[in-house]
């Protein structure tokens, strides 16, 4: 833990150094509202110019990068969390509008090659997975996020309780792992082409990204909301 803390990013670091060390963070920048072309400016400067709270940016990047890092409640409460819901919404949009359709195009091409009933069963497995993901996101967007917004505005919102939060991430991750295994282990050699390798990389990346997304929800969102719920009840 101490070891992790000493490696956490600070606001004086160059943003480019952070990205060089952890390229996976690149996909986060747009979702956080930061465009490329930041040159050699520090994290604090880039955040200021982009209108992103520096502490919030660092908190997200640290949780995203260091799997063992669990921010203290004090650290979460001491940070401006206005950006949290918009960030999570943008992430959902990124998965649903960009990543999943991209993967689906590759899988469609593979299904065509497989042909017949096998091709259909193969692609419908992915479509079921996609539907699960979309349902999960819709639940969060229609129930959880409005609840957070209300709490942040100081409203006593009893329509939803964080305790009801569906911990269905594991099912979603499980199916994606299944898909990965099927694609890289069991697609017959005669079907193998660039699509197979491309989609394996895409699935691996999505799987990693979704795990980090879960971390952000579990380590930042859930503790924050539980605290706000308690604080409002005590009023």
């Amino acid at each position: 833990m101490k070891d992790t803390k000493s490696r956490l990013f600070s606001s004086e670091s160059r943003l480019s150094d952070l990205i060089t060390a952890h390229p996976a963070l690149l996909s986060m920048l747009t979702r956080l509202g930061i465009s490329l072309g930041f040159g050699d400016r520090s994290i604090a400067d880039v955040c200021k110019e982009s209108g992103v709270d520096t502490d919030f940016f660092l908190l997200i990047c640290n949780v995203y990068t260091f799997n063992n890092y669990v921010p203290s409640t004090a650290a979460i409460l001491g940070t401006d969390m206005e950006g949290l819901v918009p960030y999570l919404e943008k992430s959902h949009k990124y998965y649903v509008d960009k990543r999943l359709p991209h993967i689906e195009r590759h899988l469609d091409a593979i299904a065509q090659k497989l042909g017949g009933r096998i091709g259909k069963v193969f692609i419908s497995f992915f479509k079921e997975y996609k539907q699960d993901v979309e349902e999960h996101f819709t639940h969060e967007e229609s129930k959880v996020f409005p609840h957070i917004r209300a709490l942040m505005a100081g409203e006593r919102d009893t329509t939803y309780k964080m305790a009801d939060f569906l911990h269905s991430h594991s099912d979603i991750e499980g199916k994606l792992d299944d898909l990965l295994n099927i694609v890289f282990k069991y697609i017959p050699p005669q079907v193998d082409d660039d699509n197979v390798l491309d989609v394996v990389y895409d699935i691996l990346r999505l799987s990693e990204d979704l795990k980090k997304h879960t971390f952000i929800e579990e380590k930042i969102m859930v503790p924050l909301v539980k605290h706000l719920e308690n604080a409002i009840l005590k009023k």
Partner: protein
């Protein structure tokens, strides 16, 4: 690792026959057979068998006998035994089975043990049979009935299938079964 096999059977001629068949089988360690059913529960605790091969006429309550021991209970049948009784067992060895069948039946019933240590990730015949039924949308109970084994055994086969293939969901396993030509397209609902 060798499977510890405990035979519970009163007839010495049967015991000696089984010992002869299993002799030289490196997969099994045949424990000193138990002739006295009254001492069986103690014996199971002390001997920790992986497989209990027992004449079903000797026990009324297999579930109680099984307790929380992680062992497979295999029925050793040489007379008529009701189908309903056999359902409580993980497998059935018929005394008229061939030498090879007896060995294979015992080898495949060991609970939670799948021998991937030597790099063997092929599904066994039994695992394949379970997989095919799963792909057809059958429940654990239905599979147990169809294959004449206990639900416990079906679950342990499913664990092994997932361990070997890396695939957990039934939908995923269905795709796997099709890609490996384990099921006919017409067999799917």
């Amino acid at each position: 690792m060798k499977q510890r096999l405990l035979i519970v059977e009163p007839a010495e001629v049967i015991i000696e026959g089984l010992k002869a068949i299993l002799e030289g089988q490196i997969r099994f360690k045949v424990l000193e057979p138990e002739l006295d059913v009254a001492r069986l529960e103690e014996r199971i605790v002390a001997a920790r068998p992986d497989i209990l091969l027992i004449n079903p006429t000797l026990v009324d309550d297999v579930a109680r006998l099984r307790g929380d021991h992680s062992m497979a209970v295999v029925a050793l049948v040489y007379q008529y035994v009701e189908r309903d009784v056999l359902k409580n067992y993980d497998a059935v060895v018929e005394i008229r089975d061939s030498r090879a069948t007896i060995i294979e039946t015992l080898a495949q019933t060991s609970p939670g043990e799948t021998d991937t240590s030597k790099g063997n990730y092929e599904l066994t015949k039994r695992e394949t049979a379970v997989l095919v039924q799963l792909a057809q949308g059958k429940t654990n109970k239905e599979i147990a009935d169809a294959l004449n084994v206990s639900v416990h055994t079906v679950i342990s086969h499913r664990k092994n299938i997932t361990h070997k293939t890396g695939i957990k969901s039934v939908a995923g396993l269905t795709v796997y079964a099709m890609l490996n030509n384990l099921i006919d397209e017409s067999a799917l609902l």
